[in-house]
């Protein structure tokens, strides 16, 4: 674990009560390696190390801690602060329906998360959701959402006969207005942030539907690329929150810090399994200790 590595590296600091710049250089090297191995983006690591150095230099070694443990505490606290607070609620207005857009790269877990989130909204924010798939590309994508809706008892808009995302959105919105659904959950097709036509499609859907939340669904095992995709989705479409999926795996999850750092939006939920109740609120302290390893 990082604290053991630091203990070794700083062992000759025994009896000293303050962290010196020399010792910090040694410690920062170990921390940099730990964060890179946890998949935090190397630019984010650079900035993080600078911030920690500033806070740690000259800091007292607290009673009962060895210098290595003191450094870990400063790193951990800084990581928790950067990851943001727990804000596991979605924002809504009094307009009916409100729309929630679910976006992200291929295979990240959007369709599954759409099911989980709508179940969560029904049970925790008293919403009446209608599910809509505008994934007109992936084989059986709309069938997949239909099966999920049936499994969780939440209606799915039947868009058969329509093959254009905007038309599907308008029809589903009308359906909400007529039948009283207050939340339209829009599951979009996976896409690359460098695919101009598809990023354009997202902008058009957003302009038409004016969603109160646009959630970026990201895979917890994502490596250095997390910064690129998150930045592009945020700059081109505008993200209001993040769902980090597959956290029931053993990925350290450094992508969480990278994404939060570059787009500044809260990580709202964490996917922890394939079943539709496997959605947890985001707790920064848990993710921080997981990233540090």
């Amino acid at each position: 674990a990082l604290s053991d590595k630091l203990k070794k590296v700083l062992k000759d600091l025994r009896g000293e009560s303050r962290l010196t710049p020399e010792h910090l250089e040694l410690a920062m090297r170990e921390i940099r390696i730990a964060l890179l191995e946890a998949d935090v983006n190397f630019k984010v690591v650079k900035n993080f190390i600078e911030r920690v150095k500033t806070k740690a230099v000259g800091a007292d070694v607290m009673e009962g801690l060895n210098p290595g443990q003191q450094v870990v505490k400063i790193v951990n606290d800084e990581l928790v602060e950067m990851l943001g607070g727990t804000s596991s609620r979605l924002l809504f207005t009094s307009k009916r329906p409100n729309s929630v857009m679910i976006v992200g790269l291929q295979g990240s877990g959007k369709t599954t998360s759409t099911g989980k989130l709508s179940k969560w909204l029904k049970e925790n924010q008293n919403r009446t959701p209608l599910l809509l798939s505008v994934d007109v590309y992936r084989p059986a994508a709309r069938d997949q959402l239909a099966v999920i809706g049936k499994a969780i008892g939440i209606p799915v808009f039947d868009g058969s006969g329509l093959n254009d995302p905007l038309e599907l959105c308008r029809a589903a919105r009308k359906h909400c207005e007529q039948l009283g659904f207050d939340t339209l959950m829009i599951d979009t097709a996976g896409r690359l942030h460098i695919d101009d036509a598809l990023m354009d499609e997202l902008r058009n859907i957003k302009a038409e539907m004016q969603p109160t939340e646009t959630l970026f669904v990201a895979d917890a095992m994502t490596g250095q690329d997390a910064v690129k995709s998150a930045t592009e989705f945020h700059n081109q479409v505008g993200i209001t929150g993040v769902i980090l999926t597959k956290m029931d795996g053993d990925a350290r999850g450094g992508a969480a810090l990278s994404i939060k750092e570059v787009i500044g939006q809260p990580i709202k939920f964490v996917g922890v399994g394939e079943k539709y109740d496997a959605l947890d609120p985001f707790y920064p302290d848990r993710i921080a200790s997981r990233i540090l390893g």
């Binding site: 390696i33 890179l36 191995e37 946890a38 998949d39 190397f42 790269l105 291929q106 295979g107 990240s108 877990g109 590309y137 992936r138 084989p139 059986a140 069938d143 997949q144 239909a146 099966v147 999920i148 499994a151 690359l192 942030h193 460098i194 895979d219 095992m221 994502t222 490596g223 250095q224 690329d225 997390a226 690129k228 995709s229 597959k246 029931d248 795996g249 053993d250 990925a251 350290r252 450094g254 992508a255 394939e274």
Partner: protein
């Protein structure tokens, strides 16, 4: 270091960032950079272009060593007495297994083989429907059962069907599974045993599909999947994105697993045979 000719203090740092940024990983990157630094200090390397070439060659050596160590399992070199040649496609959730099978079926059929696909993902919503569309596109038969059936049972049926139809190749789609889930890895092991019992030496090829955006967790994925099934090679998907898939280099180095194919898009033709030179050139683009 675009346009820079001579190596200076920044050059090695920039190269280190390219390798780390490509998900090659800290350990492999440090080994390569240290090796190169020695040559720079000894003045046996003076120019940036030479340096890039040396690093690229270092990476190609890692990738080619993995290929040689395992001998290519290849559907283009199936011995005549193997029937059917059984290929299992495995990996964690959402990496592109089902789509890759759609592409492989089309490719293998075009090479003159009769292909059958087994829909052994009986868990995920609409998994069989998704695969059915791909099977239809490749015009190959699909063996499937309803959601919830034991995947080993579907595999068993598919092996019987492939044998009775004298199919050349059986491609098995499996459910996405996280490698730290013991029960799911045990299920994979059971499927391997079922295949072994029905066809000697089966599964002849086990492809582990890895998403190009995967970070260091890709190494744990490879390690754990190799314990549950005789993985023979990797398919690196979504290389049409901005991620470089460098974790495949770490996997090649540590586990000697070769990259067999790369997924470069979502259409049936978007599968290419892995080319180490092209791949390594792409890392530096």
């Amino acid at each position: 270091f675009k346009g820079k000719k001579q190596i200076d203090a920044d050059t090695l740092d920039q190269l280190e960032e390219i390798l780390i940024g490509a998900d090659i990983g800290v350990q492999t990157t440090m080994t390569i950079i240290e090796d190169v630094r020695k040559q720079v200090d000894r003045q046996t390397l003076k120019e940036v272009d030479e340096l890039k070439h040396v690093i690229k060659q270092h990476l190609i050596d890692i990738l080619e060593k993995a290929t040689r160590s395992r001998g290519i399992a290849s559907e283009t070199a199936i011995p005549d007495d193997v029937q059917p040649y059984v290929m299992m496609v495995v990996g964690v959730n959402g990496v592109g297994k089902t789509t890759t099978i759609g592409k492989l079926a089309q490719r293998i059929k075009a090479e003159g083989n009769s292909v059958v696909i087994c829909a052994a993902d009986t868990f995920r919503a609409a998994a069989a429907d998704q695969l059915a569309i791909w099977a239809e596109r490749a015009d190959v038969p699909l063996i499937q059962q309803k959601q919830g059936t034991d995947p080993a049972a579907v595999l068993f049926d598919s092996l019987k069907a492939a044998k009775s139809r004298n199919a050349d190749v059986l491609i098995v789609d499996t459910a996405g599974r996280l490698h730290n889930k013991q029960n799911l890895m045990a299920e994979l092991e059971k499927m391997k045993r079922v295949a072994q019992k029905e066809v000697p030496q089966a599964p002849h090829e086990v492809l582990l599909v890895v998403d190009a955006v995967t970070g260091q967790n890709g190494l744990s994925q490879a390690r754990e999947f190799m314990k549950a099934a005789p993985v023979t090679g990797l398919v690196l998907t979504k290389l049409d994105g901005t991620a470089k898939g460098g974790i495949a280099v770490a996997i090649a180095k540590e586990l000697n697993l070769p990259i067999r194919y790369c997924g470069v898009g979502e259409k049936a033709e978007d599968l290419i045979v892995f080319d180490p030179q092209a791949y390594v050139d792409g890392l530096f683009e």
